[in-house]
């Protein structure tokens, strides 16, 4: 049998009378203080994000050109979704996602080699980090020269006797998209190599040593020990790369192909720009922007789901 003391009741919040009143008053004051203290941040977020997003949703259903607007309503969305060009653009986005495994796998392999301290690893570490230090505009301009008909790629093919494979990569719809994807993979190389190198540096060397003692060779250690331990870094890299593929390719596309040939390399992000700033249809631009926003939310939720389920958690 336990004795219920006034202190324990007060601690549990069960005590009637003066103590309870004082406690609830304190709680109210704390709550009020919390609201007041968080209010500036809420106001800033609403002002800088909420209102513009709300405006974008509104303008997406108008023919706003920056000066005048006419209300169309939700039918603006059904009109946009019935546009075959829109679906062609989304197809490009989907195809670019196929480059994600390469944009993660290649840096992972390179990071592993560097971590293994192959000869000249310090030099190569700097070399592989280089793309991160170079502007995407510059990368795009270099890529244009590389893939051009008279460019380095075709000269290299010719030099090794593969002249018959020479092509004007940027002149074909699919080949231009492949060229764009390759450039994107290269652009992400430095960032992802550094992420994985950092991850590998955090690994407990005794685990590797234990695996070695257990008789695992280098490859087995990588697959069975290193990679599972790097899971969080791979997830982080995956998130960064997917977001970049959707929303950071603008400068590469602008410099390399301007979305062409045809709509061959136009992504949804570039389509937003085209609508708003090439045609001056800010309302249509807002509409595509909202669609991109929704897609990014869905992609983010799917990523979260995958990550959580890999960790044995639900949503």
């Amino acid at each position: 049998m336990s004795t219920v003391t006034a202190e324990s009741q007060a601690a549990a919040g069960h005590l009637p009378g003066r103590g309870r009143t004082a406690r609830s008053r304190l709680a109210r004051r704390r709550r009020r203080a919390g609201i007041l203290l968080s209010l500036p941040a809420v106001v800033v977020v609403v002002a800088l994000l909420g209102i513009p997003i709300g405006q974008a949703v509104y303008y997406s259903m108008t023919t706003w050109n920056g000066l005048t607007s006419t209300w169309i309503g939700p039918s603006a969305y059904s009109t946009a979704l019935s546009d075959p060009t829109f679906w062609r653009v989304l197809e490009n986005n989907a195809l670019l996602l196929l480059s994600i495994p390469f944009a993660i796998g290649i840096p992972l392999g390179i990071a592993w080699l560097l971590h293994e301290h192959v000869r000249g690893w310090r030099f190569f570490r700097s070399v592989y980090f280089l793309p991160t230090a170079v502007s995407w505009v510059v990368i795009g301009m270099v890529a244009v020269q590389f893939f051009a008909l008279q460019g380095l790629l075709n000269k290299m093919l010719s030099a090794v006797g593969l002249g018959s494979f020479q092509t004007n990569a940027l002149a074909g719809q699919r080949s231009a998209l492949v060229a764009l994807a390759i450039t994107f993979i290269w652009s992400m190389l430095g960032t992802n190599v550094i992420i994985f190198l950092t991850g590998m540096a955090t690994l407990d060397p005794t685990l590797i040593e234990a695996a070695r003692v257990d008789g695992l060779n280098r490859r087995q250690i990588f697959w069975r020990v290193t990679l599972p331990l790097l899971r969080r870094f791979v997830q982080f890299s995956f998130v960064i790369t997917v977001i970049s593929a959707f929303s950071a390719l603008f400068s590469l596309i602008f410099v390399m192909t301007n979305g062409g040939p045809g709509f061959g390399t136009t992504t949804l992000e570039f389509f937003v720009y085209q609508a708003a700033f090439a045609l001056g249809e800010f309302g249509t631009g807002a509409l595509y922007g909202i669609i991109l926003f929704v897609i990014m939310i869905v992609v983010g939720l799917v990523q979260l789901r995958l990550i959580r389920s890999a960790e044995g958690e639900g949503w």
């Binding site: 060009t85 051009a148 008909l149 004007n168 940027l170 301007n258 040939p261 001056g280």
Partner: protein, 434 residues
């Protein structure tokens, strides 16, 4: 208390005086003697139009000693976006280069209708057919938004020496003659027809609407062009598809350079005589006559099964005053100056064809173009891209170059144009121009 009242009274008086002073000096609308900087934006790059505009500005400054004209070159690829963004924030220029036709109508929300602003006597000096394309419903009586700078031709240029050496004795006037000329030129070691994004660098690829204009001239009478706007004549019509199909054979038969989509030095090819023909416009005439002298001549791109009988002669651009111009008085004075014989002389000296009645061109190649109309009695057509919806133009600019390259089929490209047209609200594809 009395002292505070006195101080407040002085302060209010000072503020009123300051406000009056700033409105007189800064606005420039009332005073014509205070120093004023007039800002003009253009998208001419290094074309002859840029030279003409700079020289017009200098001449205007000599007449109006208190005015300094700041001519700002903006990138051509997103010029209109910049102009529109500047209009939203009212931070743009007093005057801006504006394309005519539906481009003017698209941006008229921030352009001043000049009816009653520029004296009618000044407008009377301008080619009336030039003024109509800058007015609502393409009717000059509604008042123009643009004072045209020049009359432009989309036109072909050819190298007479290359033609002679290749044994091409007459200028081609239809598709079959063009392909025959190509074969001879190719056999003689010349690149028959060069394509690239030089000239008017409006995008990463060449601008296809010069060629498209002539393909539609070859396919339809002038009266049918409005039907392309309204959709009554579908872009996907078999005759259009046939025209594009023949056009694409220029590339597949080796009549053009292989890298039509990525070449940037097509002007260089023509100026050095390596290429024998090029489809371009009057803005590069002076450049070509400067490089090739009497070897260069004009021809009408013969994109027709029968002898081509129409030519694109259109006042494609000029200057507009913005609704938010900081110096409207001086801006209007500049526009009035553009209608004078002195301005016509400056425009002509830059190698362009003034859009002013009674003036002539001293460039012999430009004169050849005028002769197509005055002597050969060819039908005058507008620039197709100025009389079809900008959205359709934008789609065409993306897909049509790939038709020539062979990477998009004519039917697919035309379907894209038709689809773009179909996406527009009905008030943008009516039976009359807006």
């Amino acid at each position: 208390m009395r002292r505070w009242t006195l101080v407040a009274g002085v302060a209010v008086t000072a503020m009123i005086a300051t406000a009056c002073g700033s409105s007189g000096g800064g606005g420039g609308s009332g005073s014509t003697s205070a120093p004023v900087t007039l800002t003009i934006w253009h998208n001419y790059g290094t074309e002859q139009n840029a030279t003409a505009l700079q020289n017009l500005a200098k001449a205007f400054e000599k007449i109006h000693k208190n005015v300094t004209v700041n001519v700002v070159s903006q990138p051509a690829t997103n010029y209109f976006a910049l102009l529109q963004a500047a209009a939203v924030s009212k931070t743009g220029p007093d005057l801006a280069v504006m394309w005519t036709g539906l481009f003017t109508i698209q941006y008229k929300d921030f352009l001043v209708n000049l009816k009653g602003k520029v004296p009618a006597a000044d407008f009377a000096r301008i080619d009336p057919s030039a003024l109509k394309w800058t007015s609502d419903r393409f009717n000059a009586t509604n008042g123009p938004y643009v004072v045209p700078l020049e009359n432009q031709f989309y036109i072909g240029f050819y190298n007479k020496a290359d033609f002679a050496k290749a044994g091409v004795t007459s200028v081609p006037t239809d598709w079959s003659q063009l392909f025959a000329a190509c074969a001879k030129l190719k056999a003689a070691g010349y690149l028959p027809l060069t394509y690239g994004n030089g000239g008017q660098p409006l995008g990463a690829e060449f601008y296809p609407w010069y060629d498209m204009s002539y393909m539609m001239i070859g396919a339809h009478p002038l009266s049918s062009w409005l039907q392309l706007y309204s959709g009554q004549l579908p872009w996907t019509s078999p005759v259009n598809a046939a025209q594009l199909n023949t056009w694409s054979k220029l590339h597949s038969s080796g009549c053009t350079n292989s890298d039509v989509l990525t070449k940037t030095n097509n002007l260089g090819d023509f100026e050095t005589g390596k290429a024998a023909m090029m489809v371009d416009g009057t803005w590069d005439t002076a450049k070509f006559t400067g490089a090739l002298g009497s070897k260069v001549a004009a021809f009408v791109p013969p994109f027709s099964n029968t002898p081509i009988n129409g030519v694109v002669d259109f006042s494609g651009d000029g200057l507009s005053m913005t609704t938010y111009a900081a110096h409207p008085t001086q801006a209007l004075q500049f526009l009035e100056f553009m209608t004078t014989p002195q301005a016509a002389g400056i425009i002509n000296a830059a190698g362009l064809i003034p859009a002013i009645k009674g003036t002539s061109t001293s460039n012999p190649v430009n004169q050849e173009m005028l002769n197509f109309v005055s002597q050969d009695h060819m039908t005058v057509y507008p620039m197709l891209d100025n009389v079809v919806q900008p959205n359709v133009v934008n789609t065409g600019s993306k897909v049509l170059p790939s038709v020539l390259n062979g990477s998009i089929s004519p039917s697919s490209a035309l379907s894209s144009l038709q689809s773009t047209l179909g996406q527009l609200p009905s008030n943008q594809r009516g039976n009359s121009y807006p």
